[in-house]
Amino acid sequence: MSESGDESEKKQPTNWIQQHPVYQGMKSLEVGDSAQIHAAFLVYMDLSEARHWNEVSYMKSPELEVVLLEGREIEGGPVQTVLPLPVHQNVNHRSLRRVLDRGFPLLLCAVGSDSTLVYQRMTDGLVTPDPPVGPFQDVDRRHQRKRRQQD
């Protein structure tokens, strides 16, 4: 009896994803890559439930066979594109350029096998990095000598 109870409990965690309307909606896009759909779903949940983004939606990218997400980080803010990919998948520069051509700021999200999510910003052109934050202190010779003694 307890075994059957355990079994039904074990089935629950996997089934809830497959029964989720968003997941089923993504499946209906017929992208053909179930791993990418699973990744897209995890990112969708992260954006909408954990980070509380607004108006998160999913669509099929016409050129690439992937599910893309769109959303606004803050209400009334700009729309951003999110490209969710399983971490072991390969990408090429051309497909990234195609997603960038949509015209929105792009976030690339790498989804690990343990559902860890890493977001990277991708922009067209040369974006100067933020300078290091001050205040800066020139190390004087006394400190250098002390440091050398400690080493």
Binding site: R51, L85, P86, V87, H88, Q89, N90, V91, N92, H93, R94, L96, R97, L100, L107, L108, A110, V118, Y119, Q120, R121, M122, T123, D124, G125, L126, V127, T128, P129, D130, P131, P132
Partner: protein, 310 residues
Amino acid sequence: MATDDPGNRRPSPLSLSSSFRQGLMSDQISEEQEAESQSHVVAVSLVDSTPLLWRMQDLRAVRGQGLVGALVGSLARVPRQNGRMGRPLQLLQEEQRLLGEQGAIAMATRKQVSEERRSLVFESFDSYRSYEEQTVLALEDKKSSLLRAMTTPTPHTESKHVALRGHLETLDHHFTFPRSGLAVQLSTARAGLTYCPEDRVYLQADRSPRGPVSPQSEAKYQVFRDLRGRGFYLTSAGKFGGDFLVYPGDPLRFHSHFIAICLSLDESMCLLDVLTVARLGSNVKKTVLLCSATPEGGVVYTSLQWSGMV
């Protein structure tokens, strides 16, 4: 310019670095010097396929055109360190190619150089102390060191002293001075490093690339030329796992802003590698630049940065 005669000038390491900087910083080069550097033809020595520059005016001219290179020589007075390096300046393949396309480079062909060098080597060989003289001197040296070993008050046993004395006595008969121990003085000022305008007449500018150009190196060159054309300074980025480090100005004045990675548009890369290089870039506060040459001849750039979303 009289001060540029490499035979006479012996810069100390400190003066080399400070005058080097002053001479090479692009914003201090006056306009007429810059015009001169643009028309200057640079003499390149090739060691296998590595292009090297030896003369100060060549280094200055090359820096004036915004090409940095890398110093790879040791300094005579501070040899056992690589914090401050001296001449020669090693050029990147892309830098050499860029100079070649501008017609600003002259290389001695291998046959000419080896003949010149061989004759110069034999010339200097005879001028310095000959093999016989050096043998005699080496024998004297060996005797005096053996004597010193015998007379120093160290806790040697008697047998050791006896052995040394015996060795000293037979030294005259058994001593041989190997040819490999011969000291030869080479006058580098003459050994094929000066390319006066008269010599340049029979030096041919070698414009053909060495061997077949692979698509990767072609892509790298397109990116190099485009970024250099936009005014950036580029150096090799081996320390940061990329192809080039892109500086907004002279590397002596700025930190680099970008780590440029050159790939073709269709080259597939594992997402893990993208994460690796992005992580590295964010740790060193540089933007990772994915660069690809388009078939139309331009270059597209995609900046990769940390999103800030923890």
